[in-house]
Structure formats: C-alpha cells, structure tokens
Symmetry: C2
Subunit: 485 residues, 2 copies
C-alpha cells in the first residue's frame, strides 16, 4: 500500500492526490470540475459538519433551505457582488423543454436569494436578529481544480444574519469567526491565524471580511473559513428596511459566513505523512482498528478475544472495528489501516492473550507499546486524547518554525524565493511584515513572488511604527504574506 | 391566529396552504416552482432525516456525495430512463462565461452519474454489495406546484446499491421498503399500505417499483416513498460487470430508493386540524410549551417556577420552551402554539403554584387536565407517548373508514363520484378492487374518475378469483385505486 504514495518531499501535490485516491476519500468525476466524495471522505465531512451544526445551534442559529437557482437579475442588484461572481456562474437557460424567459444561475452563494426573502420576513425590530444557516451545495466554475481544495461544485454551510445595529452585526461576525477558530483548532487540530482581509481579497459585497488562515505542510496558506460583515449593502440592494425601536425606518445590518468541504483537504494536508492519511481521532470513522493475528489452530480463540476487547471499547463509546478478513495478511492490514488514517491499532496474538497484554500502535508517531489488557478502554481513551492534543501542537510548532518577521522587499524576495520560482519548496512560509495599505504593493509582491496578503492578524495591529516592507511608505497595518491554495 | 386558517371542510387546499404559511413552515420563492423551507419546517425535516439516516446506517449503508450536474448523454444510455425524465429537466448550457460543448442537466435523480462511477469501483464480487446513500437536492421541472408536496427542486435521499445476485437485490429493495414503512408509521405516525406499482406507474428504468402509500384527510392518496428493483438495467447501460465467485463475468444487480421533503407535507395533511398544525411529538421542534400566567405582582415568582419546571423537563430529555414574551396575552399564546403544533401545553398561574398543580393541555385532543406538579416530567412523557400512539391510531381508523371493496365499474364510478367530478369531496377514498393487469383499464378509470392505481398491496395478492372491476376480464391482481397527490 505505502508504495502507492509519492513521498511528500518528491512531489507534494502528487502526495496529496495519492492519499485522497488511495484512502478512497474522493474520486474524479465525469463532470468537469466536480468531484465525487466517497464514503470514507464523506464520513469525515459528516463529523466536521455535525460539530459546526451543534455550535451554530448553541449560538442561536436555525437551519433553513433556499432555492438552488437564482434569477440572474438578482445578482446584478449588488454591484460588487455581481462583478465578483459573474465569471464563475453556471447558467440554466432551458427548463421543462422550453427556453426560459429569464435565465437562472446555480447559486455561487446565496446572499441575493436570501435577502429577497428577508424583505418579506423583516418588518420590525421585533423580527430581529434573524439568525439563519443553510447547509447546501454551491457552484463556482473553476478552470484548475484540486480534489476537496478547489472544485466547481462544493458542499458548505452559509450563515446569513440580519441585525438592528451595526455593532450587533460586527459582534456576530466576530462571534462566528471565533466559533470557526475554536472548532478548526480543537476538532480538526489545525492551528489558525484569525485576521482581516485586505480590500482586494475581501468577499464581493462585504464591508469587511474576516478569515481563519492555516498553514499546510508545504508551508502554503489555506483560507479555512470566512466571516463577512456586510454592512447595509444587501439590505439596500433588496430594500430591506425595519421599524426601529425609536419608530423610524432603517436598513438592516447583515453578516454572512461559511466553511466548506475544503476543510477535509486542509485536514489531510496538515496531518498526513508518507504512509497515508493521519486523522484527528475526533474525525476518524474508526478510532481503533483491532488486527487479530492467528494460525488455523488459534483462530477461534483469538477472534473471540478480539471481539471481547472490541465490545469493551465500544461500550466505552470508542468507534472500533475488528479486521478479521482472512484474505489478507496482518502486515498488509497494518499498512492498509495506516493508509486510512485510523489513529490507534491494537494487535492481538495468542501470546498476547496468554500474557494478558496487547500491542498498541499510534498512527501519529508510530510508537508501539505493550499495555495490560485489563483496562484497554481507559488506555485507548488516554492515547486518543493525547493524539488529538499532539497533532495540534505539532502543526502549531511547524507554523511557528515557518513564520518569520521580514522588514523589507529584498527580505521578502529572499524569503519567498523569487529567484527560484516554480519549485514548491523555494518559499519560506508565512512572512509577517508591515504594510502601507495599498493594493499596488500587494499586486507588486504577488507578481514577483506569488505571495498574497493572507490577512491582517487580529490582536497584532497595536503599535504599528515603521515602513511598508514593500514600498517603504509609512506603514498602517501588520500583515501576513504567503503563497496560498 | 386561528381565524387565519380556512376550515378544512370549506377548502382543503387552502386549509393546507394556510397552515404551511402561518406556521412558518415554508414560503413561496421568486424562483418558479421552488420553495423556501423556513426554520420551523426545516426542523421537522431534520428530525425525519436524522431518523432515516440512523436506520440506513444500521442496515449497513454509507453516505457519499455525487455531482449535481449530469452530462445529457448519460441520461440517454438507459432508454426508459431518459424518456421518463427528459421533459422535466433543467439544462445548463453556459459555464464560466462560455457555451458548454456538451450541456449538463441538473440531476432529476442520480442513477446515471452514480453508475458511471460504479463501473470504476466494482471489479469483483469482493467489492459487493456496495451500499451507498446520498442526501441531496434534485430538480424536476413542474408546472403545477404545491408547497412540500410537489416542487421543482426538493430535498431527498437516494439509496443506490449494487449486488451479486438478483435475489440479494430484491431482498434489499424490500428491506428498505420495510425501513420506510416502519419509520413513516412509528416516527411520522402515518399508516401506509406497502405495495407494487403497475407498469405505467413504475420508475423509469426499474424492473419493479415498490411503494408506501398514505391517505390524507381529504381521502386522497399520497405516495410517501419508493424502492426500486432495477435488475441489470443500469449495469448494462454503464457496462458494470464483475467477476463472480465462480470466476465468470456478470452484470451487477441494482436497487435505488428514496424519500423526500414531501413527507413534511404528508405529516401536515395527515394530522392537522382547523386550529393549525398537529405534530407527532417525535417531530416537534418543541414537545412542550410552558405558558406562565401572571400579573405584575406575581410575575417574578411565576416565571421562576416556570423555569424550574422547564429545567425538570429538560433534564428528562424533553424539548421544552417557556413563552415569557410580555407583548402578548396568554390567550394569544395558546392559539399561537396550537397553530405551531406543539403537542403539549403547560399553563402555570399563581393559584396553580400554591396548589402544586399544573394545567396540561393536549394539542391532539384539546383535553385539559389538572395534574400534580410533583412529577411533571413523568406525566409529560406519558402524555407525549400517548399522543404519538393516538395520532397513528386515529389516522389508521380514518383510512379504514374510507377504504372499501368495490366489485365493478358502476361501483367505482359511484365511489369516485364520477358524476360530481370537480369537488374534492365527491370521492370515497381508497377502493380495493380486482384488476386484469391491463394499462388500458387503468387509463379508462383515470379518465372517468381521476382515480389512479396506487399499488397492488403486498400480502393481499393471494386467492385472486373473479373479474377485473373495470373491464370484466379475468383478474390477476388485487389493486388499490384512489385519487392522488
């Protein structure tokens, strides 16, 4: 199995594809730009989705469902929005055997269709806040795609909220950013930087876009989620006014926020190794695999013993599977379950039974330990919790090691390997640098190094003094630059 | 509130729409033929979906996700399939600003795209059975729509399984039919007839379609779910062969099965009354609403007491809400929560506090009881379980009362009110009649009475002797006829 995977150092992109295909997480599809999410990939997405869903409900949001198709004229009501999305649209021109009077697009995001209904639902401050989330498929035509990370169709959630005041809407934007940060860090074990996007990178139609940015193992950045403060832009575009507590009429304040199946790609890229997938226990379809080792004369007793251990783990709420397939060897099974990313392996042979010990192997570190069989569930729980903790810590150390303060343009060119452009390894990672705030500087650096301004990190904007690392003008912000997915 | 609902007897269709809109379950959308599922409607769908999902997983199925778009040429590979679905397709002709070489349709169902992948995934009997389910949106262009019951876009699940033998595939078809029956009867409290569809009513591309059929309160039938035995039709269309245990090559055997958001409409139509929605406790977003009744001087103590009772119910796993909104009267709240279908109401006033009793009101029967406050949770649990049971029994009695054996054509014309066509009340309900098996007889009866052959009930096909009720030829089946949604 392992030899099917191109080593990370040889070709990072191919390594990623090899894992996705061999671990049967996803597959290519006959539809250009679209992917098929296979059961093992979908099971990971379900666990990510369920945790977010729980957190959204905890913070007062309700799920709803809006139409897939959007009249083209709706998109045109918000000038920046249509400009941003028009090039990516799939257009339905015929329905029920007839040419349509007005074409529809497949939703690239649902602000417009949702705000067209909010106009009917919101009359007074009593109708606010309106806190709605939708789990849905969306479609943005893409020329260059990558399984999970960038596909034309993808699955996501999109929160769309309406508020009485600007302050409340900003608070909601930041509350959901914090939910994103917390779930991605604790549940997916991916450390992220929270920050604000520059004007040129923000959502088309937003006043301000907040984001969480993660570092992959090739030191590139991946935008893992965004939360937008939309101001009154969509309320004005769809004429959504409400009677205020004071009795006057005002436009509603809005937010929207989303995470997608791209997160599955982020999990794979952050934790995996050359043997295959590495998964946080919280996301693993099976947390423990038991591999029984036997010959003909010991088969019955070893299998019975494996089932007993399995039942104990199961009773303790641990997701466990016994691989008792006779058509493959234990060695083959070890490699196969390592490929699949199962966090813990328990090996049981006749001698282990007699000595009342088990062999416990960790997927993250490869560490192998003999442990007493007496409290297998307790031992496994402890090991799983430790894996969850260590994966996060390891990723955080990696990011720290590849984040550097850079003072000026020569430094940035050197860090991002402008000379050696074209090789994935020629860049340093995240550069923390002062910035004057001009889009020209962003564009200049991107043209020279492919590095983009990922965000202006929250909590890192105090005491800005000095010069823009790119143009030398007085700096206004501290920014994080990186190549990105 | 109640006066917003047109009485059932006056106009059943309007009664249904009034409930859907006033209970805020769904709303019309600016997209022709599509609806918006509002949070209270979506919460019901989530509870239906989660129960099915649990049952699918229990029976060994895994979720996956396939593309929304399907190349038009794929549909044409199965002759009956394309003939059945072509008139209902929405067609995407442009993507990313360019005209597409081959147009895509939005999936009306996913057999073709899924079987195009099964060709890659199935080589040997070791890859079988393949048991996959997908939760997704689908689109079938509709001219005449009705909220939840018939909309162009709807949400559903579609199971797609592949098997070694015909017998196994038939067994799977019937297993899933039984899961459907059990969940719809026990969780949704809707009694159903399980049966086989006639040739003219079966799924386009199936060998045999099994269904569950329910009776609504206007005595019309509603198809609540279908399970198809597809034979080798799609395996042949997509050339999916596997190596058998004997070493030869054979085409794979298939099933598909689905239920949709239409079930939410079935729940509303089966149980509700002129006061609004009636919901089985299993589906209710809130099982109990507590309405505190107070004046200024008793407000604090009554609210504190209501919160205490609420906490007790909550601790017992009962979904409960306290309506402490000061801007509306208790009477208005009673009507509002009746409209919303909350199964139990608890009223708490200062006198009830002193006497340590509570007022418990059932939504289904209107029955009002004083009960001791000592074990509110136990009392509520008992009442909720009884409501769940009684709703099912009541619907079953209603169906029995409106199901009749009919022997001949004059009897059928009389039963279905051919003379009085055009009024919803002119028909009797379900007619159980012998049938020769010819499509001409089905068409004849439909033209005269609007009644269609709903199914040939399973377990009711023994000892067929006599004449077709329509044409008088020797009968082959016992069939159920009804007008339908």
């Amino acid at each position: 199995m392992a030899d099917k995977i191109t080593p990370k150092e040889v070709d990072y992109s191919q390594w990623y594809i090899d894992i996705v295909l061999n671990a049967k997480l996803a597959d290519y599809s006959p539809v250009k730009g679209s992917m098929v999410i296979r059961p093992r990939g979908f099971a990971i997405w379900e666990r990510i989705r369920d945790e977010f869903d729980r957190r959204f409900k905890e913070t007062g949001h309700q799920n709803a469902y809006f139409p897939l198709l959007i009249p083209m004229s709706f998109l045109e009501k918000e000038a920046e929005h249509v400009e941003g999305f028009a090039p990516e649209l799939a257009v339905v021109t015929h329905g029920g055997g007839e040419k349509l009077e007005e074409p529809y697009c497949i939703r690239p995001t649902s602000e417009t269709i949702i705000w067209s209904k909010y106009k009917d639902w919101i009359q007074s401050w009593r109708d606010l806040p309106l806190l709605i989330n939708q789990w849905a498929n969306v479609l943005r035509w893409e020329k260059r795609t990558r399984l999970f990370l960038r596909t034309s169709e993808f699955l996501w959630q999109e929160g769309h909220t309406a508020h009485e005041t600007e302050a409340e809407a900003v608070e909601e934007t930041l509350r959901m950013l914090e939910v994103y940060r917390d779930v991605v860090e604790r549940h997916l074990c991916i450390p992220v930087v929270t920050g604000i996007k520059s004007e040129s990178e923000k959502f088309a139609g937003a006043v301000q876009t907040y984001c969480i940015e993660a570092m992959m193992q090739d030191r590139k950045a991946l935008q893992a989620g965004t939360s937008h403060f939309l101001g009154q832009n969509f309320a004005k575009a769809f004429d959504v006014k409400f009677q205020t507590r004071a009795g006057s009429l005002d436009y509603v304040w809005a937010t929207s926020w989303g995470v997608s199946t791209r997160l599955v790609g982020a999990v794979i890229m952050t934790h995996s190794d050359d043997k295959g997938l590495v998964l946080p226990p919280s996301l693993a379809p099976e947390e423990v695999v038991i591999v029984p080792i036997y010959k003909n004369d010991t088969k019955a007793s070893v299998l019975a013993y494996a089932d007993k251990i399995s039942a104990e783990l199961n009773a303790a709420g641990i997701r466990v599977v016994v691989d008792s397939d006779d058509s493959s060897s234990p060695g083959w099974k070890f490699a196969e379950w390592e490929m699949r990313g199962t966090p813990l392996r328990i090996e049981i042979g006749p001698r282990d039974m007699q000595s009342e010990k088990l062999v416990l192997v960790r997927r993250d570190s490869g560490e192998k330990k003999f442990v007493p069989a007496a409290d297998t569930a307790g031992t496994a729980k402890e090991a799983l919790a430790d894996i969850q903790k260590k994966l996060y810590e390891k990723a955080k150390v990696f990011r720290l090691e590849h984040t550097q303060d850079v003072a000026d343009l020569p430094g940035l060119l050197d860090y991002f390997g402008a000379e050696g452009m074209g090789t994935a390894d020629a860049h340093g990672g995240f550069a923390r640098a002062l910035w004057c705030g001009s889009a020209a500087c962003e564009a200049d650096l991107k043209a020279r190094t492919k590095a983009t301004l990922r965000c202006m990190p929250l909590g890192d904007q105090e005491g800005i003094q000095g010069k823009c690392a790119i143009c030398g003008a007085p700096a206004k912000h501290r920014a994080l630059f990186a190549r990105n997915y």
